[in-house]
Amino acid sequence: MPLPLAGRGRGWEPLGNGRIKINLPSFVAESVHRLPSFTPTPYPSPQGGGAKALAMLTVDAIDLHYGAAQALRGVSLAAETGKVTCVLGRNGVGKTSLLRAIVGQQPISHGAISLDGQDLKRLPPYERARRGIAFVPQGREIFPLLSVRENLETGFAPLKRRDQSIPEDIFNLFPVLKDMLHRRGGDLSGGQQQQLAIGRALVTRPRLLVLDEPTEGIQPSVIKDIGRAIDYLRNKGDMAILLVEQYFEFARDLCDSFAVMERGQVVLAGTRAEMVDAEVRRKLSV
């Protein structure tokens, strides 16, 4: 299946057989420089411990339909462990749809999605979660009537019994959650809910963290914290991070590679270095 032309020469290389190769970025250290320093406490190793395989998520030429309307057309993408992959694009271009396809909330009509070479296409969302995908959805989707603690504990479902604890780390990242442990999730302010949603995803010790506009509605200082958190998680090197973001600076500071979408297609993709601001920005503006 031919890849969308847009991918070519922009950090993508088709490998045939529907697979692609992405040129790895080489400035992990640089991004750390750019972000203010942050000393995290140890973060427990994720489920499946030593799985250090590269190129863990591959999305291959997928189509997605809502009824008759097509939201994704032949979208391909890869996300690697220890890397942050960003998806950019204007409203309604299909970013969320792409993520839904990956986590299994929306069936795809064509193409393939695999994690570490394992086909995910037919797995329901909970099975994908059990294989290490965690999702921070747009709009937070907090369980409104569960307390903050219980919201976090829902993340225990894919874990072994002995792993079922809430990592202290999460409270270090988002101290506000600690104060609010016993309040109903639905009562939190929008930004607090966003923090909770990220925390909840981390409880599952994911290998692939999928974030849909995590900075939406969050106060600047916390955005910085989230940025540091993502950076830290990346640098730990045991999870791949897929980030959809509108906040360009934030994305630029974090991502190792990127893809820009337009009308359900990837129109621009590349490594951080190739994220030529002007060109990308042009695609993102009206």
């Binding site: 923090q195 906040y247 993102l284």
Partner: protein, 251 residues
């Protein structure tokens, strides 16, 4: 000082307290807004910004305190519909639109006009309304989605639709909760322009976390923290404020 604001203020909050199950969301909050003023409100997550809007629009009743509109109307005594009829419109933080209506019908329902059931039942359809709808939709670039059910819009598109509904409603006082969340930078600039334009003959309260956007709005900024005002002034003054940096902007 109080008296002058009281008489000249379009919206006036004084000593407002709101508690939820013992949790104090607004703490002796006071605020005054002159007619045709635009005001940006910032503050940490959970500072009470949305709650303040809830109080103004009648969704939440304050435990204590006055909320006056136009100097004479006590908003705490009125229900949501009555407040809306006074000319207070609102965009919600989480976009809420009428999902099974088309985009156009969402606007149609928001358009300024009679709100009673009888007039809705027997009022004839007018063409001006349709034109106005198109105008508004064009402004927010949703015109091509005119006949789609609002449920099918993406998150950001719903944001725009809500803004459009607010425009159509044409209220005296606009409360805009996080309008640019989920928008691209270009769209954000666009929105700022739009709001500045509206503010020429409307009173506007904007809540946002995007500091670039707030800067763009070019208006007085109020910082809320733990339910009361922490700082007030131009964007430069407040962003230099140590406390604001500590609790909100971060270093």
């Amino acid at each position: 000082m109080l008296n002058t604001t009281l008489t000249s203020a379009l919206l006036y909050l004084d000593g407002v307290n709101v508690t939820f199950d013992g949790f104090r969301a607004l703490n002796n909050l006071s605020l005054a807004l002159a007619p045709n003023e635009m005001r940006a409100i910032i503050g940490p997550n959970g500072a009470g910004k949305t709650t303040m809007m809830d109080v103004i629009t009648g969704k939440t009743r304050p435990d204590e305190g006055d909320v006056m509109f136009g100097g004479t109307v006590d908003l705490t005594k009125l229900d949501e519909a009555a407040i809306a009829e006074l000319g207070i419109g609102r965009k919600f933080q989480k976009p809420t639109v009428f999902e099974s209506h088309t985009v156009a019908d969402n606007i149609r329902l928001a358009l300024k006009g009679e709100r009673g059931p009888w007039s809705a039942l027997f009022g004839a359809r007018n063409h001006i309304a349709d034109e106005n709808i198109d105008k508004v939709l064009e402004k927010v670039r949703l015109i091509e989605h005119r006949e789609r059910p609002a449920a099918d819009l993406s998150h950001g598109q719903k944001q725009w639709l809500e803004i459009a509904m607010l425009l159509a409603q044409d209220p005296k006082l606009l409360l805009v909760d996080e309008p640019v969340a989920g928008m691209t930078d270009a769209e954000t600039e666009e929105t700022a322009r739009l709001l500045r334009e509206i503010a020429q003959d409307h009173t506007v309260i904007v809540v946002e976390h995007d500091m670039a956007f707030v800067r763009d709005l070019d208006c007085k900024v109020t910082v809320l923290h733990e339910g009361s005002v922490l700082a007030e002034g131009s964007i430069d003054t407040v962003s230099a404020n140590e406390r604001v940096i500590e609790v909100y902007l971060g270093r």
